[in-house]
Symmetry: D2
Amino acid sequence: MGRTVISGGTVVTATETMTADVLIDGSTVVALAAPGIHSWTEGADKVIDATGKLVLPGGIDVHTHMELPFGGTYSADTFETGSRAAAWGGTTTIIDFAVQAKGQSAMDGFEAWMKKAEGKCAIDYAFHMITGDINDQTLKEMDMLMDEGVTSFKLFMAYPGVFYSTDGDILRAMQKAADIGAMVAMHAENGIAIDVLVEQALARGETDPIYHGIVRRSILEGEATSRAIALAEVAGAPLYIVHMTAKEALDAVTAARDLGKNVFAETCPQYLFLDLDNMGNGFEGAKYIASPPLRDRAEGHQERLWKGLATNDLQIVSTDHCPFCMGDHPTFGTQKQLGVGDFTKIPNGMPGVEPRMELIYHGGVSAGRLSLNRFVDVMCTTPAKMFGMFPKKGTIAIGSDADIVLWDPTGTKTMSVDNHHMAVDYSCYEGLEITGTVETVISKGQVIIADGEYHGVAGDGEYIKRGTSQTLI
Amino acid sequence: MGRTVISGGTVVTATETMTADVLIDGSTVVALAAPGIHSWTEGADKVIDATGKLVLPGGIDVHTHMELPFGGTYSADTFETGSRAAAWGGTTTIIDFAVQAKGQSAMDGFEAWMKKAEGKCAIDYAFHMITGDINDQTLKEMDMLMDEGVTSFKLFMAYPGVFYSTDGDILRAMQKAADIGAMVAMHAENGIAIDVLVEQALARGETDPIYHGIVRRSILEGEATSRAIALAEVAGAPLYIVHMTAKEALDAVTAARDLGKNVFAETCPQYLFLDLDNMGNGFEGAKYIASPPLRDRAEGHQERLWKGLATNDLQIVSTDHCPFCMGDHPTFGTQKQLGVGDFTKIPNGMPGVEPRMELIYHGGVSAGRLSLNRFVDVMCTTPAKMFGMFPKKGTIAIGSDADIVLWDPTGTKTMSVDNHHMAVDYSCYEGLEITGTVETVISKGQVIIADGEYHGVAGDGEYIKRGTSQTLI
Amino acid sequence: MGRTVISGGTVVTATETMTADVLIDGSTVVALAAPGIHSWTEGADKVIDATGKLVLPGGIDVHTHMELPFGGTYSADTFETGSRAAAWGGTTTIIDFAVQAKGQSAMDGFEAWMKKAEGKCAIDYAFHMITGDINDQTLKEMDMLMDEGVTSFKLFMAYPGVFYSTDGDILRAMQKAADIGAMVAMHAENGIAIDVLVEQALARGETDPIYHGIVRRSILEGEATSRAIALAEVAGAPLYIVHMTAKEALDAVTAARDLGKNVFAETCPQYLFLDLDNMGNGFEGAKYIASPPLRDRAEGHQERLWKGLATNDLQIVSTDHCPFCMGDHPTFGTQKQLGVGDFTKIPNGMPGVEPRMELIYHGGVSAGRLSLNRFVDVMCTTPAKMFGMFPKKGTIAIGSDADIVLWDPTGTKTMSVDNHHMAVDYSCYEGLEITGTVETVISKGQVIIADGEYHGVAGDGEYIKRGTSQTLI
Amino acid sequence: MGRTVISGGTVVTATETMTADVLIDGSTVVALAAPGIHSWTEGADKVIDATGKLVLPGGIDVHTHMELPFGGTYSADTFETGSRAAAWGGTTTIIDFAVQAKGQSAMDGFEAWMKKAEGKCAIDYAFHMITGDINDQTLKEMDMLMDEGVTSFKLFMAYPGVFYSTDGDILRAMQKAADIGAMVAMHAENGIAIDVLVEQALARGETDPIYHGIVRRSILEGEATSRAIALAEVAGAPLYIVHMTAKEALDAVTAARDLGKNVFAETCPQYLFLDLDNMGNGFEGAKYIASPPLRDRAEGHQERLWKGLATNDLQIVSTDHCPFCMGDHPTFGTQKQLGVGDFTKIPNGMPGVEPRMELIYHGGVSAGRLSLNRFVDVMCTTPAKMFGMFPKKGTIAIGSDADIVLWDPTGTKTMSVDNHHMAVDYSCYEGLEITGTVETVISKGQVIIADGEYHGVAGDGEYIKRGTSQTLI
């Protein structure tokens, strides 16, 4: 690929904001230099003028579900369409979830997902493992998966009968994780209690999407979060709470962090922008069905989450990207409509991998809630450190992969299904006008998005063998 | 029975400390009067001189297990021997636990326990119901049990496969309790997680009694307590935590109470006097096996519990009386010895119904930790109010049952198996010298303990149909 | 006075609710008896039929300011008019504040106040001491005052230049109090900071009464409360926070109490019923000027205070009765009008000694926020115990003063300046309809209010030498 | 100065750890480059081989007192000796405190300190302003000082009669700070209360240094910290607590930060390494006299502070360098000995500017309490951002001053008065063996420490006009 220079931009990392040229040799950043002090530019194969632009590390979305089998269908984006949409949004690395179903081998699940992704991705990718069946075999396979670069294992306190782990399973998996240096990622909702409330709601004829939001009480997310923290303390393991939505949960994490425990959490743009009201309006609310659900704005969850990002009680914004079409999907058929008349049958998930960077820049940086450095931290740097990909990913530094986004801080855009690239027939943010836009995206030294065109090919993205977490105290 | 006068003593209630004669007509207190201002004494059938004595309401022990089937044997005290021992200790009312086993009817369980107790008791008695199997039938039977005066239902977050309820069962039972005004009593330990630790300990060859105390981590009592509070909030139900031992659990209850929630808790003398060290010394530690276990003194649980009694974050001291012999029981055979070589087989429980009042007076009042009124409150008055027996029980007031203890505040005694009346072959407090002793015990106007003799007969005690809790905010 | 019987009523104490006759011999309760079981009634000099009525201990208002010199005038009620108004409202004991002004002797202040009250009071009375000048002489006089039954000393963190004590003064006084067993009562507002805000408000032309409420920030009451608690911990002294208004302050007290510290607090009816809006409407707001001020209802202070009364984080409701007329006072001349054009010149205080019992019964018992027993506790029993007057005052028990109120639980009344008996020309609760009314008031065995008439004479009330607090842990 | 290359080292910033050459042009970092990819080295005037070394940003000590007049003497280090000692320890920037004494002009104070420092310093320096007399004039001078690059103002809640500000002064200064974007730095001890305890100790004959530590209760540091936070909230100003020592204080800061308030704090090495015991041993303890004092290790302050550094509840480690000789100072005469027989006369302060970096590396990084990046953050980067000097200072980035330390991570050293360069006759850490040592120090591109020699001259260091804080949320 030769030499590329990004010249004259403002390079932003989690710590620095500096006027510097970025020198790329092949796929790697080899120098940062004050403009004009070197002769590299002359010999460069490509010079990208970044004057007036921010030069940011490529985004990392640590929580996506491409082509996930769910309730008889599959999430609408394949690794090809989904990773390409990610690129459009300035994200250059995703961590998806390989799945071990009940009664199956975890390694088999990993290999199946490797196969699904192989040769398809526009950007680099890695996997967490959903360990849906904790047993002696699984615990042994965790060692093997570590060797394959799968260093984080997701457990569910929700979805009894599907991915649900008992507290005993969780404790065993956490003990194993503590032994081998793995991270446990947790879906923290008390699914056992929620299922009672679901059953009662259905029995009362409450079948619309809005009831999904009402029965999944925020206090039951808080409870599960507290429980996961207690179990992690017993096991001596680090803990990462995925897709946090509730102030009660954030309070629990904040208290644990004040004590210096290795407890971490992510939230997602939908919990920062949308609320329970979106789930109303009859079956239209199906667009916004995910678990945990959107919360009641009046209860203050949303501002608490934004504040948590600023105070580092929340560390990461991921998307939980898991789109399902409202109409028929060309390949996978009926999706959200599966749940007409029964909200429990609506496939859970929202599209989000593409707009993540622009949404958080808009609501965070432009709105004055997050500094530019903190934006880079929660979107790029901490995701890489949390999941063992730093400094290859997550920053612009000597030796790092040249995953870089040129950002127009004054660019504007209207979010819409009409201009997005995800393979789903609606946008959660239809009509939202945002400030701050992706202009050019470079993945490992190669320009893949520029001038409103995608310049890559499926398979550009490679699998990343991850190391252990680099955030532990 | 005619008229009895207790003259010249110091009558103590949860609020008052007054020099007054107590006038009893039959089984009922009919007057309190300044000494010498009435002619009642002349016509009395019996005059008891209480000069220099405290005149206290009879104690109420809200947590006993007489003749409880457990692990192939029965707790060593029958309703006859156990209730008589209670009387010796100044307790005039017990609430025992009727048991619904898995797959059985709750009403059947209640009737079986009524039959066991009938005609046996030295003092009045009532029942909580252990609902070991929550299902539609059980929920219906809760209504019937309320009509029978069983207004509190105990659930277990421990003992999977035996009494364990899932969080869904608990939520359902709490919702029902909220509907009908019942109290839910909770054994709060995360039994699912504990069982993993137990299994691992046994696999490591850790079979001595001390390991029972080590594996049942206090943080897992704290976790379960927090979870029970969250579920109760979802259900809108009051909650009563039984036999609390851990500072983590008390912190959770304290926080809930600060918010004005109807959350209550009891502890037991063993958790206020004994500690993890008692469980050492080889199989001798089996004497002190109960769940939750005795705690590590250095961690500060004990002083936190005493403080909680003073601040009303703990409301009641009960005993969880559930004795098993170290040697063979004359009727029930091998007991504690069942667990030689495997601590999980040791029947859980300690004897305690007899020394409760004297222990708490000694460690509380004599040691300056509790006022005399607070002593009466936690031992007599709040137990009666918590479980719907006030003002018939729990105080000395006009119209109340004449359940009265004459207390010698300067009396001393050495606790020993040699002088206790429980049908068990050891004392947990062997050799402990205490100050403040029971002198005379009156149950419903009848002197049943006096001059070192028991004057009652089996069957003096009657079943009490309880009302709903009188402590709710 | 002979023998009086109150027959057939429902006697309520902090613990009991019982149908009982109350037998009074002279000024003292000598018996409580079940109706019909004694012959006392026949020989009684007076029988009062209490059928259908509650028989309550007389109320105790531990915070009044009769005839207090303030800003060039005097509070509008003399000991004669004020104590009589108290009696009308069911209060049979008041604790007023003797004042040591800067540069004066505390004993002189005490004697001056004793003289003011002598022969005037309708009901019994006691004094706290405002120690407005802490010095070696004052510290010595604290011993002498203890001997006179003045066992509590009030300090001010507000009012620099008037009653203000520095933190050093406070610490010294607290150390002395710890030595001699006295209670320190604290006006907890950061007056130094508030005076800066006051000066700035006046400089901006903000002179209306409402600005009094705006500048005295609730956070500065919270701060001062926390500081007083810290100083009390250093000194090892108990602490009583007077007239609490702010949730921040109550949070601080709650946290201290959770740790078992001897920290107590009172609030007043005005903070439970009124809010910042009352202080608007131009100079009309002057009616509601007091310090600390009424709070913004939207901030949740009021419901937090009610909850605190229920949870015992607040222990007492007093009035801080300190009335000033809106028009000219017949004796003392211009009062509230002194502050036209400058809110700092408005005499601080509201009338309240008369409606206290009826207001709290209405908002507490009738509204379901407080049980009847808790009502008696916060209005009668704990006030007596807190300030060393129990069991002479604060309950209905053998040997207690016969200070008793017959209460009509279904009686209704409209609060108004037209039917109150305080010597002030407005009511803070004009037009408020309440349920639960005072019917008959007995002070030391003598009926002083009955049938809508006052039957006592000035001087019925006697000075009470108080003992030390009976509430310490 | 030409071009310098630091080649082959491991460059560490608050975020990155990378193998890179650092290219310096004159006084500025102009490039970071992978070794071998550029030709810069050939043309360089100087190449420094950093193989095996860490290349760190120069340390920033935001709290020093050079030549401070105190109690009749001066702190022992002049700007010349002190700043040179700082350089020896790897610190390349200090912020000292100019002093406005009571009754004087702040600008005059600033100018006096500017004059003292001018032409003396080995490294760059800036000033905070001690505003010892808040009045209208001072508030106006704050504007002028901002223009001079003095953007932080220190107030004292201790030292009544000297630097003490009342809460009113503090509030006024904070309001001004909020208006102009300044930071308020606070000495948070309740000096008014402490002075009472001091006076009482002296009256009891407790005159040894140890009593300094005993009377200055940690709870009174906690109290003052809470109060400062409350006042800052009223004013809407950011707050920076200097030299925090007490867990109570850190708890208050942690709680404020959890709520997203702009509250920050520093601690110092002495509070992380030393304790109350150091203050014993008769007058030897005078070496360790500072305010706030060293704390009782058993109370857990020290580990809480270390934990706070890890969790970012503490943001900075400074030194409060303020040395006084135990023997006679050649210029300033008697110093610590002034307080023989009266601990209040002992000049307050300890030497520390030199060993700061090595101590915290040793106790933090080598001991596993802080990551290398976090070490750089608390010692270099956050100090620069907190006080408006970033990115000129505090990092190694394009355009930053070339203030760089070559660090030997395996170097060892024994702390001693014999090898330090501070002008004081003792070391607080005498005999302590540490791992991780300063090897070469570069200030603005110039090597000032290398090969065990100082290569600079007085006056190399320049005054830094600081901007406003870059850490505000």
